[in-house]
Amino acid sequence: MIDEAVLRRALVGAAGEFKVSSEARERILDVAREGAPEVRAARGPTFLRPQGRTRSILVAAALLLVVGAISWPLLRSERGTSPSASAPRTVHGANVSGTGSSGLTASEKAVVGGLPTPTVSPTGAQSAVTLTNTNALTVNASTSTKIESTGNVDLRIGKGQVEVAFAKLTRMVSSDRGFVVSSQERVGTNSAGKFSYGIMVLEVPQRSFDTLVTQVQKAGHPTSVVTSSSDVTSQYVDLRARINAAEASRQQYLTIMSKATSISDILAVQSQLNNLQSQIEQLQGQLNVLNNATTYGTLTVSLTETGQQHNVTKPKSGFAKAWHDGVSGFISGFEWVVRLAGPALFAILALGAAFVIGRYARRAIRRRRI
């Protein structure tokens, strides 16, 4: 370490090698006398500006505010659109027998809507029927278990019998106080000639769902029957509770509103009321959807003419099932990753931007300070 005295002498010697101009000193006084008050402006002098730590805190707070303001609505919407926790509770039935194969190049006629009568032109040599069934069970309208059920039934019917089967199914669903949501008939050709294939979607009150499934199986030769149901009571109860709480808050605000005297108070309460109102309407909408889903069950019936095989989904078993489940799981996982990629990418970008800005600010502050 260098000796202090040596250093002092060296610096004094180096700095003393020139004369300081007295003219420069006079120049400063002249400038001061002329008076230039322009610098006393909004911007403070550098030696009085906020110190680095204060500025860093302010920058960080501002960044957090911006990121929070952007990501909060995203998170909320993400939460709002997340799928319900209900899972299929029961699955039963799996009989498959498929023979033959045919390409379905086809003309398609579809009737979609409430209570349509199936329009069928059976020109094919064979026909196949598949049934899909969604059934909603509302055990007790207001308080008891809310169950949503779905089902698929595949039927094989005789050649040229698609129209007849459609008519039979329509009668069945009408007798159970249900209705036909949609019906489709496809006409295709293969080496054996033309064939027909039809799909019908039926909705029945949940109490008649099981009856309908049984009846439908009598309309042809069932090759596959799959039904499932899920308990959505907890969702229902949760929604009701949230609506009740919001209603109670709304009532309280209305009381406060009636006692408010100043404009600012009224505006504040009004703002809260508006928020609550939209919240209640949103929740009520969700409740209505849930009610509809649990009041009616949907049954999808697929019809295939005998001897014809369309792309009936064979219930898998053994290695095939494992393979199928594996592929499905992989796809689900990939979808999950893609779904998360958006918010994750945003978060990464926001953090990256914050990091770059912070680093730049830190460097600028460091450069400014000695």
Partner: protein, 182 residues
Amino acid sequence: MEGSTDVDELETWLCECYDQSVRTAYLILGNRLDAEDAVQEAFLRAWRFRDSLARESSIRPWLYRVVVNTCNSKLRQEIPHRDRRGDDDDLVNVTSIDDLAARVEQSQDVVSALKELPLALRVVVVLRYFADLSEREIAIAIGRQPGTVKSRLNEARKRLAASPALRATPQEQSPTGEEATS
């Protein structure tokens, strides 16, 4: 008149600190004309913002703070973007011609050794061993803690020990200008 009183105050500052400030700025910047520019700007700035300067203690460290900030600003913004002023300007008005060549060389070597130091270390060394500020006053001048000043001084002295120019500084060399030691 208040205006004249204020200018008197500036005049007082100039009498007390101008020469020392110019030489300090010279050691920091390594160029006499830049040093004069920086000090002029610093004094005018300090005078214009004189109401904001802390008055509870001596004005000297605060003035040095403005000078140091101005030097820093010049080193960051101005000096890197223009051609370096000729070194000839630095020693136009040498105070004597005795051993001129040797002393000029010695002086240049010391300034070069200082320039090798990072600015943060250079400033504390100059303020401590040339401007003769205490560690506390240096802390005020650079807006840091006295402990930081102390560690920087140690680090600077370690680095300067390796400089041949400073090792060769003759013991008998004395300051040439009276202002330099005032």
